[in-house]
Symmetry: C4
Amino acid sequence: MRDIVQIGMGKTAQRAHHLDDVAIVPSRRTRDVDEVSTAWQIDAFRFELPFVAQPSDATMSPTTVIEVGRLGGLGVLNAEGLWARYEDPTSVYEQIVTREEGVTAHLQQVYAEPVKPELIARRIKEIRDAGVTTAVRISPQHTLDLAPTVLAAGVDLLVIQGTIVSAEHVSTVDVPLNLKEFIADLDVPVIVGGAADYKTALHLMRTGAAGVIVGTGADWCSTSDEVLGIRVPMATAISDAAEARRDYLDETGGRYVHVLANGDIGTSGDIAKAIACGADAVMLGEPLRVAAGSPAQGVWWDTVASHPKLPRGAVGDAPDDYPFGTLAEVLTGPADSPSGRMNLFGALKRVMAKTGYRDLKEFQKVELVVDR
Amino acid sequence: MRDIVQIGMGKTAQRAHHLDDVAIVPSRRTRDVDEVSTAWQIDAFRFELPFVAQPSDATMSPTTVIEVGRLGGLGVLNAEGLWARYEDPTSVYEQIVTREEGVTAHLQQVYAEPVKPELIARRIKEIRDAGVTTAVRISPQHTLDLAPTVLAAGVDLLVIQGTIVSAEHVSTVDVPLNLKEFIADLDVPVIVGGAADYKTALHLMRTGAAGVIVGTGADWCSTSDEVLGIRVPMATAISDAAEARRDYLDETGGRYVHVLANGDIGTSGDIAKAIACGADAVMLGEPLRVAAGSPAQGVWWDTVASHPKLPRGAVGDAPDDYPFGTLAEVLTGPADSPSGRMNLFGALKRVMAKTGYRDLKEFQKVELVVDR
Amino acid sequence: MRDIVQIGMGKTAQRAHHLDDVAIVPSRRTRDVDEVSTAWQIDAFRFELPFVAQPSDATMSPTTVIEVGRLGGLGVLNAEGLWARYEDPTSVYEQIVTREEGVTAHLQQVYAEPVKPELIARRIKEIRDAGVTTAVRISPQHTLDLAPTVLAAGVDLLVIQGTIVSAEHVSTVDVPLNLKEFIADLDVPVIVGGAADYKTALHLMRTGAAGVIVGTGADWCSTSDEVLGIRVPMATAISDAAEARRDYLDETGGRYVHVLANGDIGTSGDIAKAIACGADAVMLGEPLRVAAGSPAQGVWWDTVASHPKLPRGAVGDAPDDYPFGTLAEVLTGPADSPSGRMNLFGALKRVMAKTGYRDLKEFQKVELVVDR
Amino acid sequence: MRDIVQIGMGKTAQRAHHLDDVAIVPSRRTRDVDEVSTAWQIDAFRFELPFVAQPSDATMSPTTVIEVGRLGGLGVLNAEGLWARYEDPTSVYEQIVTREEGVTAHLQQVYAEPVKPELIARRIKEIRDAGVTTAVRISPQHTLDLAPTVLAAGVDLLVIQGTIVSAEHVSTVDVPLNLKEFIADLDVPVIVGGAADYKTALHLMRTGAAGVIVGTGADWCSTSDEVLGIRVPMATAISDAAEARRDYLDETGGRYVHVLANGDIGTSGDIAKAIACGADAVMLGEPLRVAAGSPAQGVWWDTVASHPKLPRGAVGDAPDDYPFGTLAEVLTGPADSPSGRMNLFGALKRVMAKTGYRDLKEFQKVELVVDR
């Protein structure tokens, strides 16, 4: 089925495809854009936009998490980020934003400040009080430590996320997190990832998660390829995870685990392609940098950009040709820029209309071409 | 037959090709350039050049529509463009051309002015009076509203064009345009599109249209890929539509519907490749910006660049290395630039001569290579 | 055998490869560089270097033609170029070289001056008197007119060259040149081309030519693709012509027609790849611009760059990072630049040594990889 | 098995892949980074890092050779480099580093100074006295001349390296080096290369070498492709050599010859991919230029960049966006740059952890995708 390439006499590799390699070619009926729905639901939570925010400090503060919720998406705060380390991170942001040189080293230093459970609780309360669906992200390494605090503070959804999360972590020193047991004991639904292939996605689905993140959250500022040699062709990874979703649905007689695409999604065109490959929703980080109120004022860094020993993402201002606007304009328009970076979900609706689909589940069947 | 690619376990895609991916390799006899004809005929109308103008306000005014007609092509005025909204759009053009920032927002504002039927009628009369074949474009959405005005004013050809037009538009609010019934009632021939695949092209042929537009009219300023994830590999799309033309010719026992290639055609080399893939004629927009008398003086915008909520094309001056000349020089030379942007149809004749073909219909059989 | 690609339902194309797409990977013995020979012989003429100069005025004056001959290659003067149009073209060159704008238009004007047979005769005499093998190029269109002059003046080899030459030119006005009859009547060997495929190459071999030129002489300044949609993937074209050479050798019981690769050869690496694909020798034009004594002092234009109606090549100075040197340094070194533009044939010897081959005919068998 | 491509009717080529064409996609368990080992052993010598330094003067002085050894790698001094030609090369380095123009010509002149055996002996003693594993490189051409000096001075490992080394060199003038006899007579283990294909790698293994170098040591400054048309797709070359290693292991009933990847390795991601393709260790040159104490202070040149007649590599400063640090930071971190050029082997450990492997031998089995 899949194309296997002979790298050399001693090695084969699977042929894999990026979102950029594929395109949507309308080939069916058309439909009124007003009759298209982009709504999706995970567990008891329904959202008008198939959109979960990447829990990066560059774009997610308690304020922007709340705003995302109000606009129809799911904001996620990083329970190990600046808002959990500093009473008031305003001046920390200011120093990062105005820094001219050595920004990575500065980030490393700023993130050396310990995480404070009481701050996590306070941030969660702030978001809950605003009345939106409340979600925070914790890393697999700190899940056992921080989960009690987070759960006690009353989250609606828990996001357990690392660059790569496997259902089988090996350690001879620590007792590794047993995701299956951990999730079974929880009352709140869990979103877990990232996974990059069919098998890992399927294993993570079997942990009882409500959603599985596919991809490492790479964007054009990421250097995971240069540093680790890891590059996840997202069209292939999403499609493989969608197959795992179908197989798991069959093996459980009806449990539908959502696939969240996280990586290489910078424009509304990318969002459409990710859904077309089988995603139920997308995670967005870097594209939110241009929203007014973004705490880092347009500067962007990925979570791994501040790694103490092995940073894996560039930090810097938005390119000059990026359009800026309100978060509402970024998400639902109207756009006054043709860049694909404004009115992200208005654009999704329009391509669904131009290809004649009514909802996301149907649109996952749209035909694609490969032309690169 | 067609190469099917496995994107992932849950998705396949067809391999598709752009005009840039193919090249013409002479492999037969050669012929005197003076013995080559580029003439074509649609319905009762014969043209020396296989060329229909894209109905963009940036290049098509009543004056340039007439000039195109006199030089052997078919000019098309947009019945929903600036000339239908403003008594005298001169100052509107001037404001667009001299604008330094926020051009897209300015376009959106300018196109918010309502369309005035009496202006449409006046523009059509001006063109008719000049004695050239008269054609205007209306959108599928406004066809039922505007067609009476347009027909009463006496057009020779009607162009019903949207980015993507299907023969089956779904709407629960409005009664959608039934193209087949609409065209059957008309006395003038209709050109309709764009279509992007075999099935849509065939369905549009079955509406009774005289010509079908293939492609969305994308050029290098378009951002349809970034905004919608839609990208039409034109070599494949044209070839598929040409097959629909053959199948429809067979099913009707002889009705030949013309295929007009509209997209990714910037140079004379692209024109030759589009015909080689099976097009009967090409639509040109952006390449006309360099013609003296172009109403926007070299500035170019696609029709969708002014969309009120989701603009999908950049607006701006021609690059510094573009050659400028009269419209006659652009179309039939002589060229004093090696860029492929002057003497567009003189170049077409020359490549036909170098490959030994006498007319366009024969030249559709020329051999191609794929090298990208 | 050859990979056939389905462009769309109505069109197929052959997959073809450029010299850039392939690379030489040493996989055999190695050899002392001093024991390698790059000599070749066409008809009675033997050359130390497998190198024929493109007859471009930018690099070929009577003086440089002679110098090429003395250094072991075959210089070729254009019998329809500046030296045949102007008594003393020095000031003409000076005007081209110092021109800042409108160079193409200026070239067109300069080449409007008629060709003067007496000048052709005088140039040929100058070259003959220097004692080197004497060759001039005439176009197929002017072969019948100019051949008497050229032959009377005493050339050793005649080059009949156009962008694309077929053995079957169709014209209803003129009596086209019958190459087979023309060559049969001649006493001097003829090199003819360019051809771009197997069949044309075979037909040209059957005219009785001693050598067939493969390719259109494109270099990175050429715009044949933009203007005509013609692009000749040289690795494929050379390999196809080499097969024609083998088939013709078989059908004639031993007549070996030389294949001269003409296009996309800018560096010594390209020369090696062209021979590896089956060429007996290469034609070089643009790479000679950096030689001291080049009449246009580093400015380069292809023959078709001055076409009166459809110029197909840019005119301009050499890029800043080009190395300059004597013609001897360009051809046989030593090089003090790592650019692949100096010591072109010393490099060829070295790659032959690194792959263990003794002469060009053996080296045509070297193994290649495709990696692009 | 391997994909064979028809270049033209007369030539085929193998499809080959670069390290850049492949990526690692985690698809298995994960593991604690502290439980991963990158150690390897060749003959009696064990190293914590799978890293052998390219013997380039730009980065390897006796001091840096010693430092590499202390940090866990194998430094290699060029016995035919500046330290063997000059009593004190400090001012020679200074002239190269401060040179603005004509650097290649200057290098050629500097390397015209004869090699002095007593200097080789002195450098080897200096390294030995420091207590690290001592290795020098000699070229195949000078192996018979220089080996006595080198062996008498007491090296631990001998590196016999040229761009391309075959087990069968043909010469009618000199008696070529018989590697098999030469190595059989030695007491010290030999690393030999470069090889670029399965057969040459196998033949070199059969000479009795302890390690075989795969690749020509190309980096982004190399111009071997432009000059010679030689380009070694390393993913394929490494994988082919790994197959030779397996076959040779079988044919000898247990002799394991190490495969050292040498070429296109600029970042930690490249290191991971090289091991993933089957390498036992990597050779690094250009990446070391940014280490404090590098004798050429960031300027880099490959050994062949100073070739007297045919230089094949550019000489110049590091790009502005390169990070600088101590050699320890370059090799084992911590990094404060996300470029993939710091903490090279910390990154290797991390990707091994993220894919769940404990040691290098296991990690050679990691799954790859091809996406370019």
